[in-house]
């Protein structure tokens, strides 16, 4: 849990950093080396800010909304397998909290409920901008959820299961076995599917360029305008949590989850994770020596040592075995997150009608077509064999 | 897993259904009444699933599936109707919408 929270927090840091660099700025820098303590500071700020509720707001709903948003957003993570079920700890696989035979559907179920958070928030704080924002964002989420699901169904067709682990197992082999690339008998590479999924996901999580509900310029921050301090933080985190969920899903569905991108035969590839960590450690060490001053230096030393220790620990065979899955998984997720941020940083915001027409008139048909083609390709061998 | 007697589920569904009916009669707001209907449907679904479980056969589940689909369609149309009614009469109170008069 705590881990998740911090991840979320640091996600914001990560984002700001990336955007900053993309926009050739330094981004958060002063709080700790590379602003590594920035999230902490933010958190503290959120906590100690005054929590005010707009008059005439429906208190119950007003409080309920952000909780709903955050809890739901984080629940989904429970269903995500971070590593192979083979990794056992106290008799049950540790890297997935709850393994359901139809995990995918549950994820969708929960995300679908996620709308309420937004909608209710917009409604309960009775003032028109939030209301509009709420309406818009919920409408947007609903309409994009359709194409999201459709895009995913393609994969479900290929793998023929709703269970994450089975899906991943289905993609085992090197990276050209992943659903997104794999071309084979009765299999249609889901590249289009992925693109649809990604766009839909971006919209689903109300991220730029689909983030009108929160368009500061027109809606003064959208549905959570009225929210302050910790509740706001909840929404904030919920958003990132959703991002994580979505990219995890993408990883699982299209990029073979925790599988290594390389064939089994390349055993030396197993040493990539520790080596990477050690490299990081080295870099940090260099930082420590050359750049950092004062508190930052101490802090950097800590981090460096941490990385060093972990990296070395990972060289131990058991740990090596354990680390494989999560490492690759997190790496892929990280990459996708990077994409996210990238898009946000580069693309301009759409207009609302554009957004809707894009969702219904372009995304939906395309994903449908993709689905149909996939189904045909899947069924084709049968037909041929019969004919 | 389910060592809870089916009859419990049945009673629960009965109770929910009854509440649905009461809401159906007592409430004045069209939307709420509509929700009451949904509630009844849900209760029935529960009974269905329970029975399906009892007989260890899937038909009940399939029927639940159908019920849900139909409910979706129905609510779509119903809400559209409600919106139009509201546009025409500026009220959601069922008792102010007395067009069904001879």
């Amino acid at each position: 849990m705590f881990l998740l929270m911090t991840t979320l927090a640091y996600l914001s840091w990560f984002e700001r950093k990336v955007i900053a660099h993309i926009q050739s700025r330094w981004g958060p820098y002063y709080v700790g080396a590379h602003g590594l303590l920035q999230p902490l500071a933010d958190g503290v700020k959120f906590l100690f800010k005054e929590d005010l509720t707009p008059p005439g707001a429906d208190r119950f709903v007003y409080i309920l909304a952000p909780m709903l948003a955050l809890t739901l957003a984080m629940t989904t993570v429970a269903l995500i397998p971070f590593g192979p079920p083979s990794v056992q700890w106290l008799g049950q696989s540790t890297l997935i909290v709850a393994d359901s035979s139809i995990g995918l559907m549950f994820v969708f179920a929960i995300t679908s409920i996620g709308v309420y958070g937004v909608a209710l928030a917009g409604w309960s704080s009775n003032s028109k901008y939030p209301l509009l924002g709420g309406l818009r964002s919920s409408a947007q989420m609903i309409s994009y959820e359709v194409s999201l699901t459709l895009a995913v169904v393609g994969v479900v067709l290929l793998t023929g299961t709703l269970n994450f682990n089975e899906m991943i197992a289905h993609q085992s082999g090197a990276f050209w076995h992943w659903n997104i690339f794999y071309v084979g008998r009765g299999s249609f590479p889901q590249i289009i599917g992925f693109l649809c999924y990604f766009m839909a996901a971006v919209a689903e999580t109300n991220r730029a360029p689909f983030d009108l509900p929160e368009g500061e310029t027109e809606l003064v921050g959208g549905f959570h305008t009225e929210y302050s301090s910790f509740k706001f933080a909840m929404f904030f985190m919920a958003e990132y949590a959703n991002m994580i969920t979505v990219s995890c899903l993408a990883t699982i569905l299209f990029f073979g989850g925790w599988l290594s991108p390389f064939p089994e035969s390349w055993t030396f590839m197993r040493y990539v994770p520790p080596v990477g960590l050690l490299a990081l450690a080295v870099y940090l060490a260099y930082d420590t020596v050359v750049l950092a001053r004062g508190v930052a230096r101490i802090q950097l030393i800590v981090v460096t040592i941490g990385a060093l220790v972990i990296g070395l620990a990972c060289l131990h065979p058991v740990a090596l075995a354990v680390i494989q899955g999560p490492f690759w998984f997190l790496l892929k997720v990280g990459l996708i997150m990077f994409f996210y941020v990238w898009t946000r940083a580069t693309l301009p915001r759409l207009r609302y009608d554009q957004l809707m027409s894009f969702g219904w008139k372009f995304l939906l048909p395309v994903s449908l077509a993709n689905l149909v083609i996939t189904a045909l390709v899947k069924v084709w061998p049968l037909l041929v064999n019969h004919g | 897993m389910s060592i809870v007697p089916i009859s419990y589920y049945l009673v629960l569904s009965a109770v929910l259904f009854g509440f649905g009916i009461i809401a159906f009669v007592v409430k004045r707001n069209i939307i709420t009444i509509f929700m009451a209907i949904e509630l009844m449907l849900n209760a029935v679904n529960l009974a269905f699933v329970a029975f399906a479980r009892a007989h260890n056969q899937l038909d009940g589940l399939v029927f639940v599936f159908f019920v849900i689909v139909v409910a979706a369609a129905e609510s779509a149309v119903g809400l559209a109707i409600i919106i139009t009614v509201y546009q025409n009469r500026q009220t959601l109170n069922l008792e102010r919408i007395n067009l069904l008069k001879f």
Partner: protein, 169 residues
């Protein structure tokens, strides 16, 4: 008191509370929320009954789509507190008692229904959770025609909704 019992009673309790609030709440949105509560707890019950797929569908469609629609309409029409009019004397006086009667009668009936007892004697005790595969097989073989029919129904519903909701010039 084993785990299923606890889960069951918790969910049942929640469901009943939800139903009650549905009746008592004067804000439509509260009713909607309580209804959502009912649905979710029902979904959990489905899980308990081993109908995973149905549970998921229940949440996705009911809680995720239908109720969203409701909330939506409520927000759209900005439905406030409902007014307590009593034009219908019949409903005013007869409604509640009849409903209560029906509730109790059904509950009693169900409680003493043969099937309930028979299951209580452990027929349903087998904890095989229905696999989605079997269900879909049923759906697409035995119930293919109804399935298609419902799809058409949906289509019609969509059209109807469009026609109704579109602003007539």
């Amino acid at each position: 008191m084993t785990l299923p019992f606890i889960v069951f009673f918790v969910c049942a309790f929640l469901a009943v509370i939800g139903a009650l609030t549905l009746i008592l709440a004067r804000e439509p949105i509260h009713s909607a929320l309580s209804l959502i509560l009912v649905m979710v707890s029902l979904a959990v019950l489905y899980l308990l009954l081993g109908a995973e797929f149905i549970a998921a569908v229940q949440i996705i469609v009911y809680a995720g789509a239908i109720m969203v629609l409701f909330v939506f309409v409520i927000m759209l029409l900005n439905a406030g507190v409902e007014e307590r009019t009593d034009y219908s004397k019949l409903a005013k006086y007869a409604g509640l008692p009849l409903g209560m009667f029906l509730l109790l009668a059904l509950a009693h009936w169900m409680a003493h229904s043969l099937i309930g007892q028979q299951i209580a004697n452990g027929v349903g005790g087998t904890n095989a959770s229905v696999s989605t595969r079997e269900l879909s097989a049923q759906l697409f073989q035995k119930y293919l025609f109804p399935f298609e029919a419902t799809s058409i129904l949906i289509l019609i519903a969509i059209l109807g909704a469009l026609v109704l909701a579109k602003k007539d010039e």
